[in-house]
């Protein structure tokens, strides 16, 4: 049995028929074609599937699609401007080389924005603690932390790679 779920995704109202057990990540990827949201572990640990629901970072592999009914969902596809101008956090990841293979990147960027929103002025230690639930198996954390820090707390980043 399916039911219709209607939600706002990246500013547009979207509807789909889903089973009750359909995960938000599955709705986004398989039914709405938004494959930028990745599913790494499917066990709430890796954070590759992080999206924003009503402005807060959540793991979309551990939320039912029906639970997002009526909510505002933002995915990695919803960040850049229509003309392709990157969101400041995406730009920061580019600038600070905050990715290697790229698999964890959508979740890292979405969590990075959440951290910067919640904790403006966060120091490096705080950013690292806040990335607890986002795993980079390339272990490229240095660039990721720098990128997030450069947005959350611009003064804290030393311009080392241009030295």
């Amino acid at each position: 049995m399916t039911s219709k779920v209607t939600l706002t995704v990246n500013g547009k109202e979207r509807s789909a028929d889903v089973e009750a057990r359909t995960l938000l990540a599955e709705l986004l990827r398989d039914q709405l074609g938004l494959t930028g949201t990745h599913v790494g572990c499917d066990t709430t640990q890796c954070g590759c599937c992080v999206v924003h629901v009503d402005g807060k970072a959540v793991k979309s592999c551990t939320m039912l699609a029906v639970q997002a009914s009526g909510k505002q969902v933002t995915t990695i596809e919803g960040l850049a401007a229509a003309d392709g101008t990157l969101h400041p956090m995406q730009e920061a990841f580019r600038e600070h080389h905050g990715l290697q293979c790229g698999f964890c990147t959508p979740g890292m960027v979405m969590m990075g924005i959440d951290i910067a929103n919640r904790m403006p002025g966060a120091d490096e230690k705080t950013v690292r603690e806040q990335l607890e639930g986002n795993l980079c198996r390339c272990t490229g954390y240095q660039g990721i932390v720098e990128a997030i820090l450069s947005v959350a707390n611009p003064g804290a980043v030393k311009d080392h790679h241009h030295a």
Binding site: M1, E19, G47, V50, V53, K59, T62, L64
Partner: protein, 263 residues
Amino acid sequence: MHNFDYHAPKSLDAALTMISDREEAKIIAGGMTLLPTLKQRLAAPSDLIDLAGIADLRGVKKDGNEIVIGAMTCHNDVATSDIVKANIPALAKLAGIIGDPAVRHRGTIGGSLANSDPAADYPGAVMGLNGTIVTNKRSIKADDYFLGLFETALERDEIITSVRFPIPERAAYQKFRHPASGYAVVGVMVSKTGADVRVGVTGAGPCAFRMSEMEAALAKSFTTDAIKDLKGNADDLLSDIHSTNEYRAHLVGVLARRAVAEA
């Protein structure tokens, strides 16, 4: 995950009717434990009754000498609540180190307590702060609530509506955090209010419990020295791949002393 029917009642009464009409139904709060459990097919309820739409179950307030936290209040909202930070900072700290930020945006205090995972943080807070679990039927004191591994005093048709915490004079929470999962290998909440001292322990045994010998010693002298020779009773504690029961017993002593020093 096996399929189920999903319901999102708008009131507690509607939720209670749904649960009494459906024998194999389960309540879902934040889903941070239940959804992974369903994915592993360790449970297969016929229905999920989601409490997220019941606005009355959310929020933090001060009521006389108690802090009252709605059952569906997420960990992040407890961690960042000005009321909690001003009155029971140890509780705000505890909520802020559960899981990770995304989990803290979904997971709830009521869900954590209804589940009573032996390694969850909130059971330690309820024990150590002498909290009261308020349901649609009654108020349950911390000492009567935790019965065993994933077992509580809750009845099938009973829903936690809020948790009440008396404001202590001093309190602190110390946790040996599992480096991967964030769960408490052991967590100790110590509080002092007048002559009353409580030491609540989570992570170490099948469910949260108190260390009465430590409480008696701390009531005489609220110092780390007073409990320097005390630790958990290994025979009552859990052994798993993360820690032996002997190590957990040791951690109970270490963390209790750190909590006393911090309080």
